[in-house]
């Protein structure tokens, strides 16, 4: 009797939904590299825009930083907006082969998430923005040299202090 399959417990249903994805796709003879290459070429059309987007976003963050917030709620909203933008920059950097941007933005994002808006230091935020701007203007793709890595490490250390 112990070998008999037990019924599914009451209230639990396990089923196989129709696999609409499989039904709508066809296997191709082309190598995967060709498919990936097509997508790379499609994404390349955005590569030139990426640098412009990032500089525009950094500009908006400088503007937010320069304002003198009188209300705590406004300061908190501005801080959250900065954190979200930094998070977006972190996500995009790696896609466009700017891992340094991802690392700097990650450091900024963590700082803005960890420190209360009232205690956030303008110089630390500004140092991150300066670094992102420099990486884009100098088109430092890839991991960067020892100096770039030292700057990123310094920013992270300041953000964690």
């Amino acid at each position: 009797m112990n070998d008999m399959p037990k019924p599914t417990p009451p209230g639990v249903d396990i089923f196989e939904p129709p696999n609409f994805l499989k039904a709508k796709v066809k296997v191709l003879d082309a190598p995967v590299e060709e498919i990936i290459g097509n997508a790379n070429r499609s994404l390349a059309e955005l590569r030139t825009h990426y640098e412009t987007w990032t500089l525009e976003e950094v500009g908006r963050l400088y503007d937010l930083l320069a304002r003198r917030w009188t209300k705590d709620t406004e300061r908190a909203l501005a801080s959250d907006m900065m954190r979200r933008t930094a998070n977006d920059m972190r996500g995009r950097g790696g896609t466009f082969e700017y891992p340094l941007i991802s690392q700097i933005a990650e450091s900024l994002c963590e700082y803005l998430g960890r420190v209360t808006p009232a205690e956030q230091r303008e110089d630390i935020i500004r140092a991150h923005l300066d670094a992102i701007q420099a990486v884009i203007r100098q088109k430092i793709q890839g991991p960067g040299d020892a100096t770039a890595q030292a700057i990123v490490a310094g920013l992270r250390k300041a953000a964690l202090r």
Binding site: N19, V32, A39, L43, R84, D88
Partner: protein, 184 residues
């Protein structure tokens, strides 16, 4: 990894970052998926499911208002949901195990950390095509089976409580499905 003609698929992208939406659209179109609809928030995403009828969705975790995890839970459990079993890929910028666990428990099929790369996105899409998981509807959970590599024929040592029973139930249910399909 196999090559697929994905041109008949319809994809919904939900991300508040317009640049990310442009990136997803370019990549997906490059992979051959032409029907891509992108929206900026989860509420519009839920409405788009009814209007656009996507085959799968890509949603960002960090959204203002309803976040990506709440979106997944709503698609899975809302009585008005039109596509409770639709494959959903949740994207997060955070390396936080808690977010991954919550996304899995909400019923996300795939969870991916940024940065998005084309090979990794393609690999997740092919995983949803080639390795769909059984769907579980139980008190407290609705979504794809969270045990990704369940092998119903496994006879080795069980390391989890209830594993044998789960495997038997799953095997029995799959037999029932196969039998009913043959009768049709």
């Amino acid at each position: 990894m196999r090559s697929y003609d994905l041109s008949r698929l319809r994809t919904l992208v939900v991300d508040d970052d317009r640049h990310m939406r442009a990136i997803y659209t370019k990549i997906l179109r490059g992979l051959g998926i032409h029907a891509v609809l992108d929206v900026a928030d989860a509420i519009n995403g839920l409405e788009a499911i009814a209007a656009f009828r996507p085959d799968f969705a890509i949603i960002d975790y960090d959204l203002p208002g309803m976040d990506g995890i709440e979106f997944v839970r709503t698609v899975r459990t809302s009585p008005t949901s039109l596509e409770p079993c639709m494959p959903i890929m949740l994207i997060t910028g955070y390396a936080d195990a808690g977010i991954v666990r919550r996304a899995r428990d909400a019923g996300a099929n795939e969870i991916m950390r940024k940065p998005i790369t084309i090979p990794s996105l393609y690999a997740r899409i092919t995983a949803m095509i080639e390795r769909p998981r059984p769907f579980v509807r139980a008190p407290g959970y609705v979504g794809p089976c969270r045990r990704r590599h369940t092998n119903v024929a496994y006879t080795g040592v069980e390391r989890r409580a209830g594993e044998t029973e789960f495997r038997r139930n799953l095997a029995q249910r799959m037999n029932e499905i196969a039998l009913s399909a043959r009768r049709r």
